[in-house]
Every structure is written in C-alpha cells, then in structure tokens.
C-alpha cells in the first residue's frame, strides 16, 4: 500500500519548548507528498466536539487520506474512542503515546486497540504487552530533529565538569546530586527546582555542548499525583529520551541504569550507574580520562544521528507501515475507569465553554458525560475549584493587562510599528485589542525564515534584520520568548526606548494567546485560513469554509 498523504492529529508547538512533537511531524512529512495537521486540543476548544469531528472527516474525505497519525499528549483522554473507531475503519491508523508507562492501563490501551501500529518512544517491553492483546507495536525509541542539536566543538570548550538538566525533585535525584556536591564534584543543575532554574531549548543544547559529563536519571513516577494511576506502576523505570538528546549534541552521557538502555546505546557509547557510589566513582574516572570520554561521545553521536533522527527513523517506520495490512474490524472495548477519566476530563471543556458563553458547545459536552454519568468525584471538584480560582485570578490580571495596553496609546499611535512574533500571540493581540487596528503596523518580524514573505492578517512578515526598514517602535509580541527576543533586538543595536515589552513581572502567564482555549486554536490549517481571510472567529471561519464548498 502506498501512503503519500497523511493526516496528523496531535498538538502543535510553534516553539521548541517540547521539540519532540515537531520532530515526529518532520519525520512523517519527510515520507509523504503532503500532510495535513490538526491540533486536536485547540480544535476541540475552538469548534467543540462535533465541529472538530466534522472537520477531521471533511479533511479525510476531501483529501482522500488513508493514513492517520495520532500523536497523543501524555495521558490525554480528549478524544472519543468511538469517533476514532469511525475514522480508523478502512484507513491505516498509527499512534504515538508518550509516558505510556504511566497511562497505559487507564487511558492509552483504550485508544491503542484501534491502532494498526503503535510507536513507542520508551520501554520496549510494551511491545509484548500489546502483542498479547493483538496490537502491533514497535519501539523506535525517542526520535528527534537532529538538525536542532549541534555537536560540541572541542573538549577545550567544555567548561562545566558535570551537568544535569531536568527536574531535581523526582526520585533519588536530589540525594544523588547532594552526594556529588558533598564529595567535591562541580555539578551544575538546570531545570525546575534547581539553582540555575529553567532554561530555553537553545540553552539546553549549549549546556550539553559545554559539559564534560552530562547526567541522566531514569524516570520514576509518582503516580499518586493522579487519582486514577496505579501506585504499583511506580515500580516501572522509564527509558528516557534525554541520553539521545545529549548524544546528538556530541555530549558524553552517564545515565542511571534502566532495563532496555542497552537497546538504545551500547556500552562503548555511554556509561551507566546503579548507585550514588558508582556514580561518583565513574565521574572521577571520566573526568580524568578525557580521551575515552570523547571517544565514547563521538560513537554515541554517530549512533544517535543514524538511529534517532526522525527523518531516517520514519523511513524505516514507513516500511513497517507498508508491510502491515490494516485491521478489517476495529472494535472498541471500554472499562469503567476509562469512561470515568474521559467524562471527568471533559468537565474541563464544559467549563471552558460555560465561561465563554458558548451554550451550544456546552450542551454538546453535557451530552458526552450524561450518556454514562460516572466521574472521579475528587477530580471533578478539583477541576471546578481550579477553574473558579483561575477565573478570578485571570480576571484581575486581564484588567491590569488591558489597562497597560490602553496606556500604550499615548506614546506610539503616531509612529510606525513593527510587531515581533508571527505566532498565535500576535493573532490574539490584533483580534482582542481593537486599538491595534488604529496603529500603523508596518510589518511583523519573525526569526523563522520560512515565514518571511508571507502575510499574517494582511501584514507582511519580515526577517528581524529588516526591522529598520519598516518601523521605529518594536513591540515584542510573545510571552514565552520575550527575554530571548529582547536580547536579540539589543544585539541588533536597537535602543531600549524603541522596544516595548508587554509583560512585566506581575504577569505570570500569557495574557493573549493562552488565556483560554477559544483563542488558543492555532494549527497549520486554521493558521493558513487566517493568512487568506482576515476573520476573527475561528468557529465562524470553519463554518464559512464549509459553506464555500
């Protein structure tokens, strides 16, 4: 069977905060003549359940697509298994699940039963678990866009002895790191709960590049966080993707042992430890033996580049896909636990629609969980409490943010403006704050070279180096990358007085694009429609596109 078109139903990250989703999309794209992408989380938020489902069916039928990839967010029960069953009939359904070690029992397997092939990024043992219930699965391990990871240049550039990037609160990590510090090891830690705090993707690559030894710990879970996850699965150790990322940067990996790591790298590529004493011993050894360390990291780099680059790996995955005949009958068997989680999760959508006053969509959600009204009571209560709290906090922050935007007027209304950031933040900003329509916005700058020459809501997108030709005032339209953009603008010798930052310390969240799911609808498809038509309501846009046919 030839599959030259694919529909990817997943989550889109237009930044590199979680590069793995984009890496998989890149891999699929490389094997198809065309792909269509739908961000299911945003689209359900924008169109509601039936609107989203209709959109998917329309794309599949119009484009005659017979290959679907579903790349699920960890433990996400947004989608209706019966809808997936409907679109999976007579098509090849491939699915990817992250963190299935945690969510297999309660969520993932209920979707997996509809797959013709499951791709597992971690523990290969699940291949056999799935085989037992008649599901084809392969474990290509975690795949990455290797072009985003730069190998380290020379060992002379390696100024950090030992580094660790990740959460230090999990498992025995904290204890191990303290033990190393007590024993005089110069270890730098980055990520939540660390001295250096969270760092951007670029910084992570830089750390991997400049560290002599990069530590990795295997994931162990605290399943008590989720009311529905089984504590007994805390016994499972996760085969993480971090060693692959380090290797792609040419860094040396010293990782906690997990069964199956020998299938990812061999002992000549990386090294492992089982206890803090062994860790200390190996750190001292590798710090003294630079040549061995470099030799191993070079081997690991070659191995990772060959096996874990998403384009190369998807070429093999597509061979597997072509060798499998899709199942004739795809049946759905559900258990109480899944239905409870599914219903409980949909309370979130219900509350979102309630808040937006979108009654029709709210009723639709209501129908979802009144069909079989079982819930996880504690979680429902938490959702409601959280929502109320969020709502009031957001309301206060929104007022302040709105006031701040209004105050911008006095200084800039007569000047030529460039917005920096051609993403959903800018779309939201232009839609939600009418005063921007009165400004003279000459261009939108973005560092993504692919966007140069396109338009966003009728405004030309330019590269940052062209800013001087278009405007005097630059407004940074991004929450996540405000700091990085600011630095970039300073590097371009732009004066502070001409740069406007929208976020002050008091704004701890994105006040434009992520303030609610209704505005967080961005995906390739809707994004393209926006380029063509300047409409404001994504729901209306979709309805209009239906009318046009």
């Amino acid at each position: 069977m030839i599959y030259d078109k694919a529909l990817i139903i997943s989550r889109y990250h237009d930044d590199l905060a979680n590069p793995i989703y984009n890496a998989y999309i890149r891999g699929i794209e490389s094997q198809c003549k065309s792909i269509h992408f739908v961000d299911y989380f945003d689209q359900v938020g924008a169109l509601g359940k039936s609107g989203f489902e209709q959109q998917i069916i329309d794309i599949l039928e119009k484009e005659k697509i017979n290959l679907i990839f579903m790349i699920f967010v960890s433990g996400d029960p947004s989608l209706d298994p019966y809808f997936i069953q409907k679109i999976a009939q007579n098509r090849f359904m491939a699915m990817v699940f992250w963190d299935t070690e945690q969510f297999f029992e309660q969520i993932d397997r209920y979707y997996m039963q509809l797959a013709d092939l499951v791709l597992l990024p971690a523990n290969y043992e699940y291949i056999y678990k799935l085989k037992m219930i008649g599901i084809n699965a392969i474990c290509p391990f975690s795949l990455f866009d290797s072009s985003k990871y730069k190998p380290s240049v020379t060992s002379k550039m390696q100024s950090i002895d030992v580094s660790f990037v990740g959460e230090v609160t999990k498992g025995a990590r904290k204890e191990y790191i303290s033990y190393l510090l007590e024993n005089g090891i110069n270890i730098q830690t980055y990520g939540s709960g660390t001295k250096n705090g969270k760092v951007s993707f670029e910084k992570v690559v830089e750390i991997f590049n400049t560290s002599k030894i990069n530590l990795s710990f295997t994931g162990t879970y605290d399943n008590s966080v989720y009311t529905y996850c089984s504590n007994i699965n805390n016994r499972i150790m996760q085969n993480k993707g971090k060693p692959i990322e380090i290797a792609l940067c040419g860094g040396f990996v010293l990782t906690e042992y997990v069964p199956g790591i020998e299938k990812v790298f061999n002992e000549n590529d990386i090294d492992t430890f089982l206890s803090k004493e062994e860790l200390l011993e190996k750190i001292n050894y590798y710090l003294e033996n630079a040549n061995k360390r470099i030799h191993m990291s070079n081997r690991a780099y070659e191995h990772a580049k060959k096996n874990y680059d998403s384009i190369l790996a998807f070429s093999k995955i597509f061979d597997t896909i072509r060798s499998i005949t899709p199942k004739k009958n795809k049946t759905v068997i559900l258990d109480k636990v899944f239905i409870e989680i599914y219903n409980t999760f949909h309370i979130f959508y219900f509350l979102a629609f309630l808040k937006q006053g979108r009654i029709q969509l709210m009723i639709e959600e209501l129908k979802v969980f009144t069909k079989n009204p079982i819930f996880i009571a504690r979680d429902v209560l938490d959702h409601v409490k959280y929502y109320i709290q969020e709502y009031f906090q957001l309301l206060t922050q929104k007022r302040r943010f709105k006031l701040m935007i209004q105050n911008l007027d006095y200084g800039i209304s007569q000047k030529e403006i460039v917005l920096y950031g051609a993403g959903k933040h800018t779309i939201g900003l232009l839609n939600k704050f009418p005063q921007f329509k009165n400004y003279t916005i000459k261009a939108i700058a973005d560092s993504n070279p692919k966007l140069k020459g396109t338009t966003l809501m009728g405004i030309p997108v330019i590269s940052p180096s062209e800013i001087f030709d278009y405007g005097e005032i630059i407004i940074i339209s991004s929450f996540a990358f405000e700091k990085e953009i600011l630095q970039h603008l300073k590097n371009l010798q732009i004066l502070d007085a001409n740069i406007i930052q929208l976020y002050k310390k008091e704004f701890t969240r994105d006040m434009v694009s992520n303030s609610n799911s209704y505005n967080s609808y961005n995906s390739y498809n809707i994004y393209n429609i926006y380029h063509k038509r300047q409409q404001t309501d994504p729901y209306q846009i979709y309805r209009n596109t239906l009318k046009l046919r």
């Binding site: 029992e105 397997r109 699940y126 056999y128 037992m132 219930i133 007994i232 559900l334 258990d335």
Partner: protein, 403 residues
Amino acid sequence: MNILILTRIIKNNSNSIYNSYSNGIFNNYPETTTIVDYFDLYFENSKKGFEENILKIIQEKRIDLIFINFVSGDLTFDIYFLEKLSSLSYLMMNFYDSELFFEPIDRYYAQCADLVLLPTSSDFIYNFSLLDINAISTLSLFDTKLYKNNNIKKDIDISFVGDLSKKSRKNFINYLKENGYKVQTYGTNTENGRVDFDKMVNIFNRSKINLNFSETIEHRSFDKLSNIDYSIIPNIVKYMKQLKGRSIEIALCGSFTLTQDAIGIDELFNPKEIDTFDSKETLLKKVTYYLKNTLQREAMAEKSHLSAINRFDATKQFQKILNSLDLNNRKTKKIYMDESFLINYNTYHTLYLFNFLFKFKFKYFKEEFKIIQFKKIHFSTLKQHFAQQFKYQITNKYFRKNR
C-alpha cells in the same frame, strides 16, 4: 532443601494441575517437602491461626523455600504476611490464569516473590519484568504418570472437553455440526455434561481430533461454581488469548490436538506435532483434512506425546528449576499498594466471614470482621458470598441432608 508448599490439594484429580505441581516438587525432595492446603488451613483457623500455623512449620522444619501455588483469583493471603514470609525464606510463587488476574491481584502478591513461575507464553513475562519482578515461563507442567496412552480404538471423531458456556466456542462447534460433523462435547453447559478426570483421559484417548480453545472468559461476573470473581478483570483483557494446558494433557494421552491459535502456541508444540485454527472456516477445513489423513494425524499425535513427556513433566522440570535457585539471592521487598487491590482483598474475605458466621464459629467471624474494611468493598460480590455460604453451610447441611 526444606520446602513448604502452600497449595490446593485436589482429591480426585478433577483439576490435576495443582497436584502435578506439588508432586513435581515432592518427587524431587520427598523427605523434606511439606504440603499444606492453604484454603483448608484458613477455613479451619481463620487469619491468626492460619498465619501462626505457617510460621510454626517454617520454624520447626527450617524451611528454605516456600512455594505458593495460588488458586486463580484467590486473595486469601494478606500481602504483608507474604512480605514477612519472604524475609524468612526464599519465596517462589506460581500464578494460573495470570492473563486474567495479573492486574487486579497477581502483580501485587508477586512483589513479595523472589521468583515467579508462570504457565503463560514467555511474552507475558514482560508484564513482570517491567515491575522489576523476577519471573520465568515454565508453561503448564503435569504429573505425566496420571495421563495414560491406552492405545484404544478411536471411536469419537471430534471431541471437546471444557466449558461451553462461552458464546464463541459454541459458534465454532455449531459451525462444525451445521457442516455435518458429529462433535461430542463434555463439561459445563455441554450435551454430555461434566466428567471426572479418568473419564476425560478416556475421551482424549478415544478421540481422533481433540479440540481446544484459547480465548479468555467472556462474562465478567462472579462464578458460583469456582468461587472466582471475574468482575474484577478489566473488559479490555477480552482481546487476550490464553495459552491453555489442555493441548499438553491431550498430547500426554497420545492423542491429536487441533487448537485455536494463541500467542506462544509455538512454545508448546511445533506444527509437526499439533495444528491450529483461527477461524470457523479454517477449523472446518482442518477437521475435514485430519479425519481423512489418519496416518499423518497419528504421527503428529505420537510426536506431540513424546515431546510432552519430555518437556512438560513436572518432576523433571522442577528438578531443573530447584537446582537453578540461588536461595541466598533475595532482595528486600518494597510493597506498592493500590485501593483496587484492597477492595478486592476485603471483598474476597467476606467469603470467609460468612463461612465462619454460618458455621457458628463466632470467634473467627469476629476476627475476620475486624480485618475487612467495609468502606472498601464490592457489595455485589459480598451478596454472592452471603448467598453461597448460606446455601452450603445452612441449606445444604440442615435442609437437604437426606437428598
């Protein structure tokens, strides 16, 4: 090696596998093996007496190895008592029907084991290895002396011995009948009814083709006959097929097996020894073929017989297993607990609660009452236990005495 076996002792071999495992170990260490029916021990002593008795045996007989041969879906043991046992001795466990009970029961108990034996396919072992539990696949083992190859005349064309209440099994059998084949069926919900062990061996010997099915239980409910609560098994397990021991039993009688396909079937026998089907149409085709080709069928039966005697004899296999154990290699056990297991445990113990109540053993009743947390319980199963024990201990004893 001093061994304590905690198992079920089946008097008339109606389910020979429990006795096969016990005999397999006993034959290797006849002088130093103690066999205890743990069900009887609990029914006679309640929890405290049950545990004290076991500890006493361990101490007096200086037990090196405890082997618990669990009854499917059984929750008699307190997991923390097992944790204690594992601190005193090497603890080996065997779970039947783990394809069904792995999630609700087996994986919790297995946390206390130094080694788990499984009659499943080797792929199933990964369920345990993911949890860092040491497990091996032994496939089903039998006391081969119990099975006789009588070389008698094969006067039954096709037979099936087993539970025919499962819809899919019925469909297969009916399809053969609709196509003109006579199929003799024995067991629950069959035309010939249930048969004892000797009769079963006789049927295997007399049948040209012995059928075997691999799908798991269809109905998720409490089974009054076996006292097994199937309602605790997730529905999605229905996709799983079990590697049943029946084809080994048939082969031990020197007869021919035609079995429904299942993962791991090739670990039991090769295609020159038995044959498989995956649909009604294939079954019909193969039945027609093997009834016509007697020589080939008998040659396959002979090969499978030799293979079964050699590979599935409990005494021989336990010799290998016991010789391979390093009794000093015992890890400290860490127990993870979930509410679902506690609910199942509490619910199961209402069986003992009502047994003691209706036997008027009020001291034991009180003891059991204290163990059970009634907030965490499946009330539908509790009702089943009440009705069942009332029937056995009151109605049958006092009102049907003369029947």
